[in-house]
């Protein structure tokens, strides 16, 4: 019988085996799927990932170099302004005896590969444990939150974006301080769902959504996006809130990763709560006001930063 199947009906037999294996994997528990994927990735895909990183860096190096040159001059000016603000901030904190908070650094990294899957959901960046980037760190761009580091090698890190089922974020409506949990679910991507918000709460289309800091990973106040749609769930108890992310995940190329540091500086979340100001305006603001904030989000690369009073954690 088996001989007949393999010799006379090889094509159908192979198809049935392939489909059975695929369906078996699909029916595995999520954790077991992750473990199988992890094992296969570190045996089958290791050479490929190295090649991808090398090619992407080579392809991107020309236009990246051009962009970096033009940004360098601007960043130098902004860096000088930021230095002044940082010193001012340290002085003011000492004066006010602000409570001790854990300091953070921001590490700049480049995206070297994206998920092969149609829906995306992950990125690979060129910084790893050797640069202080460890699993669980928050990853963002000047536009807002990107996701979190999932696993790291010495020189590479896989980042789960908000468009991944395994990357839920404790979020908050900035205007009314209502807390919920932001999750991606397959559907009209890249829209995210803000869950567990009572139907009594005040949420409107256009409200800004930021990280709430409830947990352990994501600092408080990082912009996530804006409310695109508000409706009631079928039983009328909770609101169904769709959030339009601030970050364009398809085109993100340079990102920032929070890492612990002994340094102290401006609160990173503040960088994402205001629209960027011109460098000249920032200069005058730094001179005039004790509450002045960095001129542009790009400064975050150079800035040291502080985490929230309460930290985030991975929801799942």
């Amino acid at each position: 019988m088996l001989r007949y199947l393999f010799v006379r009906r090889t094509d159908w037999t192979v198809l049935v085996i392939a489909c059975t294996l695929s369906l078996s994997m699909m029916l595995l528990e999520a954790r077991l799927q992750a473990r199988v994927a992890w094992f296969l990735q570190h045996t089958l895909l290791a050479p490929f990932e190295v090649t991808v990183g090398w090619v992407d860096q080579s392809v991107g190096v020309f236009w990246e170099n051009h962009q970096l040159r033009s940004r360098l001059t601007q960043l130098q000016i902004e860096s000088d302004a930021l230095q002044g603000e940082r010193m001012e901030n340290v002085r003011l904190r000492r004066l006010l005896h602000l409570e001790e908070r854990h300091p953070y650094n921001l590490v700049a990294a480049s995206v070297v590969a994206r998920s092969l899957d149609r829906l995306g959901g992950s990125l690979t960046i060129d910084k790893g444990t050797a640069d202080g980037v460890e699993p669980g760190r928050a990853v963002l761009t000047p536009d807002g939150l990107v996701g979190r580091a999932e696993r790291s090698t010495p020189h590479e890190t896989r980042v789960l974006t908000l468009l991944n089922r395994d990357c839920a974020v404790a979020a908050r409506i900035e205007r009314t301080r209502v807390d919920g949990v932001l999750e991606w679910e397959f559907g009209n991507q890249p829209v995210l769902n803000l869950r567990y918000i009572s139907s009594q709460e005040d949420v409107k289309v256009g409200d800004r959504v930021v990280t709430s800091g409830l947990g352990g990973i994501f600092p408080v106040g990082i912009r996530i996006g804006t409310v695109a749609k508000v409706a009631l769930d079928p039983n009328g108890l909770m609101k169904e809130i769709l959030v339009d992310p601030a970050v364009d995940f398809r085109s993100v190329e340079e990102i920032l990763v929070y890492t612990p540091s002994d340094l102290r500086g401006t609160a990173p979340a503040d960088l994402f709560l205001e629209e960027p100001k011109p460098a000249a305006a920032a200069d005058s603001a730094a001179a005039d006001s004790a509450s002045a904030r960095p001129a542009t989000p790009a400064k975050a690369v150079a800035a040291t930063a502080q985490p929230p009073a309460t930290a985030d954690k991975v929801i799942r």
């Binding site: 489909c19 294996l21 695929s22 994997m25 090649t51 992407d56 092969l116 899957d117 149609r118 995306g120």
Partner: protein, 164 residues
């Protein structure tokens, strides 16, 4: 020798898919070279190889996907098998036939993929098929036909020959 060439083509397709193709995305549609690769292999090497390669390539995609592990493998296994069965003794050198095969194969792939990924939500499924699957299939068909034409211009023999 042909296996080495196929391996190199797969490596190039994987690298291009994850590093370059997002730069030529148009309104959310981008070419899927991995489906195209499975179609090419299945067409040239038959249903057994097509199914196995489809399963392997799909599994590689699944390792880095947010959809259930095995979904891409399932979709590409079936596409590999069907293409090899349907593409037997057709005029493969014809650009129109090539386009039609790659286009339909992409649609079949996305039909399976989105049917499972949307978890029975017909509205989302329909929307994904219309807004993502069809434009991506058209885009893939055009890009692959052009790439094959360019590759064959530098090759001594057709990459998709008529004989089996």
């Amino acid at each position: 020798m042909k296996w080495v060439r196929d391996g190199v083509v797969l490596l190039v397709a994987l690298v291009l898919q994850s590093t370059v193709l997002h730069r030529i995305e148009i309104a959310g549609a981008r070419p899927d070279l991995l489906v195209a690769y499975v179609v090419y292999i299945a067409w040239m090497r038959g249903p057994v190889v097509g199914t196995i390669v489809g399963f392997g390539v799909g599994l590689i995609q699944d390792l880095d996907a947010s959809v259930p592990l095995g979904l891409n493998a399932l979709a590409k296994s079936i596409v590999g098998f069907l293409v090899a069965k349907a593409g037997f003794r057709v005029h493969r050198a014809n650009a129109g036939v090539r386009f039609a095969f790659f286009f339909v194969a992409m649609l079949v792939h996305d039909l399976i993929y989105y049917a499972v990924a949307t978890d029975g939500d017909l509205a989302t499924f329909g929307k994904q098929m219309v807004l993502t699957a069809v434009p991506s299939a058209l885009y893939t068909g055009v890009v692959v036909v052009i790439l094959l034409g360019i590759a064959e211009a530098f090759s001594r023999r057709p990459l998709l020959a008529d004989e089996v």
